[in-house]
């Protein structure tokens, strides 16, 4: 029976697909574990550094250092978008690209010219296809991002801010709330916003002095914001991939169940027909 053979072939193909998606789910689960550990390991440093920067920052210092510059109006803004190098992770990359496009439309509506800096093969391919100009195209940052990679990514952008080419820097990346919840988020990382509620550090012994410490610490602060964003993004990607592959595996199971039912029904129909033919044949002989 050609019908049942066809169904059998499809069952085999779906089984193979399910095997692949299940393996990818397992791989993503183990990578997610390691990536999540890295996310939690970066947090103490990031939180403590943020506290120190907020404590030292005062608007009066902004006159002296280019990195503290507070432009009166934004004319040009850098958008740094972090996506994944690989697909098959659900809407992860699409969500980030959508967030970045929304931000750029918003900036244009406020008469601010956006410029794109992109990390991740998926967004690079997307914006290249759309013919958007990108000033940075990075596809070499992997699952385990390093501080050096963060520096090489943000360094040139920071320089553009310091020299006044851009008046603001926005960072679009995934927030790693949990493995299941990784919404895209936009943060303005430059100019630096002091936290007005942070306790001021004026009762400290400061060596060498507040402004020198700040001048030294700020580049590493900005770099660290990008570094933690890269680390969180890597974890979020694995989380998204695990969910996507789990759904794919579950769906494949459902499809298989239906196909098997169809196959068995076809087989049973064939047997019934053969019996009917035999019975009919022997009846005709009597």
């Amino acid at each position: 029976m050609s019908g049942s053979r066809e169904v059998k072939r499809r069952i085999k193909s779906v089984e193979n697909t399910r095997q692949i998606t299940r393996t990818m789910e397992l791989v993503a689960t183990s990578k997610l574990k390691r990536a999540t550990d890295r996310v939690y390991a970066t947090r103490p440093y990031a939180e403590a550094l943020e506290g120190i920067v907020s404590g030292l920052y005062s608007p009066a210092l902004s006159e002296k250092y280019p990195i503290l510059r507070r432009p009166d109006e934004e004319r040009r803004a850098a958008v740094l978008l972090l996506t994944a190098n690989r697909g098959l992770c659900g809407a992860f990359n699409a969500n980030l690209i959508k967030e970045a496009r929304g931000l750029m439309d918003d900036l244009r509506a406020r008469a601010i010219e956006p410029e794109l800096h992109v990390a991740g093969k998926k967004a690079v391919a997307y914006f290249r296809f759309r013919g958007e100009e990108m000033l940075t195209e990075r596809v070499d940052i992997g699952d385990n991002p390093s501080v050096e990679e963060a520096e090489s990514l943000i360094g040139p952008v920071r320089e553009r801010f310091e020299t006044g080419v851009v008046d603001a820097v926005y960072l679009v990346s995934s927030e790693f709330r949990s493995a299941m919840s990784t919404p895209p988020q936009t943060r303005r990382i430059l100019p630096i916003e002091g936290d007005p509620e942070a306790p001021p550090a004026d009762h400290y012994i400061l060596t060498p002095s507040a402004d020198v410490i700040l001048e030294r610490i700020l580049p590493s602060y900005i770099r660290n914001v990008v570094f933690t964003a890269l680390v969180e993004n890597a974890a979020a990607e694995q989380g998204a991939r695990r969910s996507a592959m789990k759904n794919a595996t579950d769906n494949a199971g459902e499809v298989l169940e239906n196909l098997k039912r169809t196959y068995n029904r076809a087989r049973q129909a064939q047997i019934t027909q053969e019996i009917a033919e035999i019975v009919g044949g022997s009846a005709a002989l009597e």
Binding site: R38, A41, T42, P44, Y45, A46, A48, L49, I52, L56, V147, E148, E151, G155, A201, H203, Y204, I205, L206, T207, P208, V212, I213, R216, I217, P219, S220, R223, N224, F227, T228
Partner: protein, 104 residues
């Protein structure tokens, strides 16, 4: 006996988190020692060895490079660009332009 609560963190990891009797850190202009009861302080770090003396005797040492040291109410937070058992790789922190103008 009063002791310090010390946390040493690099961007990638927390390398030390615990009690200490004293610490000696490589500040931007030389070694700086911190004992319990130290006044609040923020200091830039250079590159060198950070020593943490345990309350019960014995000590631990880490190589650190760059970053900042914060002391407040017997809590010491060391945030460093690099922390590990080996000295920071030569030239690795040039790009971050830290700790190179100690003679200023």
């Amino acid at each position: 006996m009063a002791s310090l609560t010390v946390r040493v963190a690099s961007p990638q990891a927390t390398v030390f988190d615990g009690e200490a009797a004293a610490i000696v850190a490589p500040s931007w202009d030389g070694q700086v020692g911190v004992l319990p009861g130290h006044a609040p302080m923020l200091a830039l770090l250079g590159a060198g060895v950070l020593t943490v003396d345990r309350p019960g005797g014995g000590s631990e040492a880490f190589h650190v490079a760059g970053g900042v040291l914060k002391v407040e109410r017997d809590t010491v937070t060391v945030l460093t660009e690099y922390a590990g058992d080996e000295p920071a790789p030569e030239g690795a922190f040039e790009a971050f332009d830290l700790a190179e103008d100690a003679e200023d």
